[in-house]
């Protein structure tokens, strides 16, 4: 998709936001004694596309796992529509997850069934709809992502971009309120990337849902997101519109937004003295 078209898309008027859907309050999270988050605070406005950005290894995917309740914070609260996700019992958590959808980086399609059955899967599991109605819903969702013609294909026959579009159709099958996209642009060619950008935007505003896009593709997010958070060192280091982030005074934000190889996020991983290590026999 031409960049001008994407920019035009961004210029479309936005519906008014109505409050906050997800709120992260003073979240701390540790793995093996290493702090991933230390006092993370952020809010995801309802009906908007929010980007979560940051250098690799800052815990962007971990944040998504906290929101979906796959892991629990060491301290702090993760609120979805005012409900504390981390204190829910498994049954209640599953009920809450019916209101969420997630697009995994690799699509995470079920490899033992074809495209149609993948999209039909959540409907068959959660509803007692007749087959004919399920067929209509699945074909509608596949039509929305442009893959109605691929309904009979097996998962290994799909390209990376197609797999992600099928996964998007599956995530949309139960009409969730929140859609989470984990690195949706990674490894895609420009055409597939353009398709995904367009779909995320269209889905969000046509269906009135809330979207969280986790990525480090600054250019795509600048077109797509209504607001962005940059996470580094376990905290939010900057937030706001893309224009605000571009002019942000923080060094780390400047390094990230402009793709500088060295800066607060060092090029070199911490290591002993180079000369001494070359002379010693240790690896």
């Amino acid at each position: 998709m031409a960049r001008s078209n994407l920019v035009d898309m961004q210029a479309e008027p936005l519906p008014a936001a109505t409050g906050t859907l997800v709120e992260i309050k003073d979240v701390h999270y540790e793995v093996g004694g290493r702090a991933i988050f230390s006092g993370l605070n952020l809010s995801i406005p309802r009906g908007r596309i929010t980007a979560i950005m940051g250098p690799s290894g800052t815990g962007k995917t971990t944040l998504m796992r906290l929101i979906t309740g796959q892991i629990k914070p060491t301290r702090g609260q993760v609120l979805f529509d005012g409900i504390n996700v981390s204190t829910l019992k498994l049954g209640d958590l599953y009920k809450l997850r019916m209101r969420m959808g997630m697009l995994f980086q690799n699509g995470a399609l079920l490899t033992d069934r074809n495209v149609f059955e993948n999209v039909a899967f959540p409907l068959r599991e959660h509803t007692k709809l007749p087959n004919e109605l399920i067929r209509h819903i699945v074909l509608t969702k596949l039509q929305a992502v442009g893959l109605r013609g691929a309904a009979g294909l097996e998962v290994p026959e799909l390209s990376g971009g197609m797999a992600r579009r099928v996964a998007l159709a599956r995530a949309m099958a139960t009409d969730p309120e929140l859609l989470i996209y984990d690195e949706p642009f990674t490894g895609l060619d420009p055409i597939s990337m353009g398709m995904i950008v367009r779909l995320v935007r269209q889905m969000n505003y046509a269906l009135g849902i809330t979207s969280i896009v986790v990525s480090h593709d600054v250019e795509e997010l600048s077109i797509l997101a209504d607001m962005s958070y940059i996470i580094a060192s376990g905290k939010v280091v900057a937030s706001g519109s893309f224009v605000e982030l571009k002019d942000h005074p923080s060094e780390i934000v400047n390094q990230f937004m402009n793709g500088l190889a060295d800066g607060p996020v060092a090029f070199h991983y911490p290591a002993p003295d180079y000369f001494e290590q070359l002379l010693s026999r240790k690896a």
């Binding site: 959808g101 997630m102 995470a108 959540p122 599991e125």
Partner: protein, 255 residues
């Protein structure tokens, strides 16, 4: 001192794994009432673990039965009791070889398939995707495979024993000239219902052990190619050792 610590660490790890497996089994059993409402999920897995293992089970059963025919004939002929080949084969297959060899083959064929399938589902985020879709993977993936395996194992053992007896008869009666009537009548006269129930109990216990190890190893596999490979290997090794230990314990109780 460090060796003592190593021993205690190993014991603690062993207890941890056994505890985790018991809890995992309870989680699986908790899904049984829901699965009763959707038997098709279990039937699918009986086909995958049972029907797809039939060729290997039948081939091995035939050859083991034929070997028993040759060996027993050679030994019994020394005492002039060739007609007792059928009895020896029937008791050996029913009480020992049938359940044990079937379980070892089951662990190698179906157990590895279960562990690697579930492990790969975890490595490719399919398990996480189900969790996000509010579908419990224990209910949808693990429990049907476990129950399918538990049901398939005694059925496979029965087929193994039947084919094994056919193989023994093929060698003893058709090839070595043992009188057919004596072969079958002595077998009928000496094999009791207790002998059959011993075999059924053993194959059910082995079915639970093999299926539980396979689904547990797959579900807890480290989500990498190496992790799935290790889980698959552990499934075969642990199952084989456990089958032989359980076989001794069950035999000691049953005799």
């Amino acid at each position: 001192m460090s060796q003592l610590r190593e021993v205690t660490d190993n014991i603690r790890e062993f207890v941890r794994i056994v505890g985790a497996m018991v809890l995992f089994l309870l989680r699986i059993l908790g899904q049984v009432p829901r699965l009763v409402m959707r038997p098709v999920l279990v039937i699918e897995q009986i086909y995958n673990t049972g029907a797809l293992s039939l060729v290997i089970i039948m081939t091995c059963g035939l050859f083991i039965g034929m070997v028993i025919g040759l060996q027993f004939y050679d030994i019994l002929a020394r005492f002039g009791s060739e007609e007792a080949v059928g009895v020896g084969a029937a008791l050996g297959l029913l009480k020992e070889l049938g359940p044990v060899v079937t379980a070892l083959l089951f662990a190698g064929r179906a157990g590895t398939a279960l562990a690697s399938e579930i492990g790969l589902m975890r490595a490719t985020d399919q398990i996480s995707a189900m969790e996000i879709m509010a579908v419990d993977p224990i209910y949808r993936v693990v429990a049907p495979r476990f129950i399918g395996g538990v049901i398939a194992m005694p059925l496979l053992a029965a087929i193994f024993i039947g084919i094994g007896l056919f193989g023994t008869q093929l060698i003893a009666v058709q090839q070595l000239g043992v009188e057919a009537n004596s072969f079958w009548s002595q077998m009928r006269g000496s094999v009791h219902i207790d002998d059959v129930s011993d075999g059924i109990i053993k194959s059910c216990v082995f079915g639970v052990a093999c299926s539980l190890i396979a689904v547990y190893e797959g579900y807890t596999a480290i989500p990498t190619a190496e992790g799935v490979g290790r889980a698959t290997t552990r499934t075969v090794v642990t199952s084989a050792v456990l089958i032989l230990i359980l076989d001794y314990m069950l035999t000691a109780v049953m005799l």
